[in-house]
């Protein structure tokens, strides 16, 4: 597979970023310091290039019904300009990808998929729409769109100051809501109050040809507020502290949304409420819900220094493996090791003591409630 480049690739190199390959894309890992970038997002603001994320446009008379069938959420119930976190599951209930879906018009949705799963999701949406005999098309517009995120407590003021028209919308839209904005210089942007950091923040979907202008506009307007460019390393540490799952770590084909603690996003319809038709995975997911999960995603926190990492064994008091770590690192905000792991339900209660085999040495950790970090409301 050839390596894909963000429209901002040259800019990152000019800024001195350490580049890394991520899901086939050359993306910035860090500019200078992971921890400085992480802390900037917690205290002020960070600027991220997320152009590797897939934007799949679903259009057509039956677009809403088609997504209802293809995804686990009830997409036709979404209002205009709303965003919804959802998943695509297979017939057996395993997660194919986790997605954010934006309703841009009554017959137009934008499905944002993980870079590694973009092609699979696009193909599967097309297949499912055809199988259901519904009139909706899928177009992969990833290459034409740049996704630039401004995240952190100062983000609303920064993004508002970038606007020629729509600054009031930026200040007032709620979390998981979007607006069409005209940025300085007459640049059109679809701006959503969404993110993956645990902070207030915005994601700006703009034309790839205007990506550099938008990035530089944000950098200029954010400078005084402490905004700095941030790479994927800090994005990962921020999302882990916020207890957010990452596909390939907490989520996979072998995991159901219920095991991941995200059963609430699976909509079976409400008795006496709006009708919810059939959807792919419904039977298996209904069974998974009834039976209860065989493994549960939990947070772990340690008092020592050595961090659990992806794939390490979780052990019980007799040193038998009972689970596995999906993500882990020393938390920059909390100053202690944190991790997410799958364990049996009987070990999932906060306060439960477990061990983690950290390269041959047992480190003591404790089950804690997720998220590890929650911003002040």
């Amino acid at each position: 597979m050839s390596t894909l480049e963000s429209p901002l690739y040259r800019l990152h190199v000019e800024l001195g970023a350490s580049m890394t390959e991520f899901a086939g894309w050359q993306m910035p890992l860090r500019y200078e310091s992971d921890v400085v970038e992480h802390t900037a997002v917690r205290n002020a603001a960070g600027l991220f290039d997320l152009s590797h994320m897939g934007e799949l446009m679903v259009r057509g008379e039956d677009a809403a019904a088609a997504l209802d069938y293809a995804l686990v959420g009830h997409m036709s119930r979404m209002g205009l300009w709303r965003a919804k976190y959802t998943m695509m599951c297979s017939d057996d209930g395993g997660v194919i990808d986790d997605l954010v879906v934006y309703r841009r018009d009554w017959d137009h949705f934008m499905v944002v998929a993980n870079a590694a799963n973009r092609e699979k999701v696009a193909a599967e949406l097309t297949r499912r729409f055809a199988a259901a005999g519904l009139d909706a098309t899928v177009e992969d517009e990833t290459a034409a769109i740049a996704l630039i995120a401004v995240q952190g407590p100062a983000s609303a003021e920064i993004v508002a100051s970038m606007c020629e028209l729509g600054a009031d919308d930026i200040r007032t839209i709620k979390y998981y809501t979007a607006a069409n904005i005209l940025l300085e210089g007459g640049i059109h942007a679809f701006v959503a109050r969404t993110g993956y950091t645990g902070e207030d923040g915005f994601e700006l979907f703009v034309s790839a040809v205007e990506a550099r202008e938008v990035w530089e506009l944000a950098a200029r307007h954010g400078e005084g507020a402490g905004l700095i460019p941030c790479g994927l390393a800090s994005r990962d540490s921020l999302r882990l502290e916020a207890g957010m799952p990452l596909y390939g770590h907490e989520l996979s084909h072998d995991t159901t949304p219920f095991e991941a603690g995200l059963g609430r996003i699976v909509s079976f319809g409400v008795d006496g409420g709006p009708k919810r038709g059939d959807f792919v995975g419904r039977v298996a997911l209904a069974r998974a819900k009834d039976e209860g999960p065989a493994k549960v995603l939990v947070g772990l926190a340690g008092d020592g220094r050595r961090a659990a990492r992806t794939g390490y064994a979780v052990t019980d008091h007799e040193d038998r493996q009972v689970g596995v770590v999906t993500s882990g690192m020393p938390s920059p905000t909390l100053g202690r090791p944190i991790a997410m792991a799958y364990v049996p339900p009987q070990l999932a209660e906060p306060g439960t003591d477990v061990g983690v085999d950290v390269r041959g040495r047992r480190e003591h950790m404790r089950v804690v409630a997720l998220p590890f970090y929650k911003r002040d409301a």
Partner: protein, 127 residues
């Protein structure tokens, strides 16, 4: 391009060694700028204990960043006579001054150190 001081010797595992390489002398060991940049911000350093014997090419400790964990290899054979206690509270020195305040441990050599690279040879390894 990360800096590679001329006066130091290097291992292929990206440690540097400062001092006389003869038996009985005490050398200072750290990781190179190249290694610290690859690792990201070091948040925890676990050097070998004072009094421990270390063998050239063997693992003797760990360095942990938010992104990754890296094994620390000893570039020389001998006995640990001192470790950089300041790293306990300021592990970021390893990134800020990898050849200065970010030094990690000192070893009294049990024999003449062998197989180390000069700056030019290390530059090729770390390209």
């Amino acid at each position: 391009m990360a800096s590679i001081p001329e006066e130091l010797k290097y291992s292929k595992e990206h440690e540097w060694v400062a001092g006389e390489l003869t038996s009985g002398s005490v050398v200072t060991v750290g990781i190179t700028a190249h290694a610290s940049e690859a690792l990201g911000d070091v948040v925890f350093a676990e050097p070998p204990a004072v009094g421990a014997t270390v063998t050239a090419g063997d693992v003797c400790g760990e360095l942990e960043s938010t992104k990754a964990v890296s094994e620390l290899f000893s570039p020389v054979t001998g006995t640990i006579v001192e470790v950089n206690e300041a790293l306990e509270n300021e592990p970021e020195s390893i990134n800020a001054e990898p050849y200065g305040s970010g030094w990690i441990f000192k070893v009294e050599l049990s024999g003449a150190a062998e197989g180390l690279l000069d700056a030019a040879a290390y530059a090729e390894v770390s390209e």
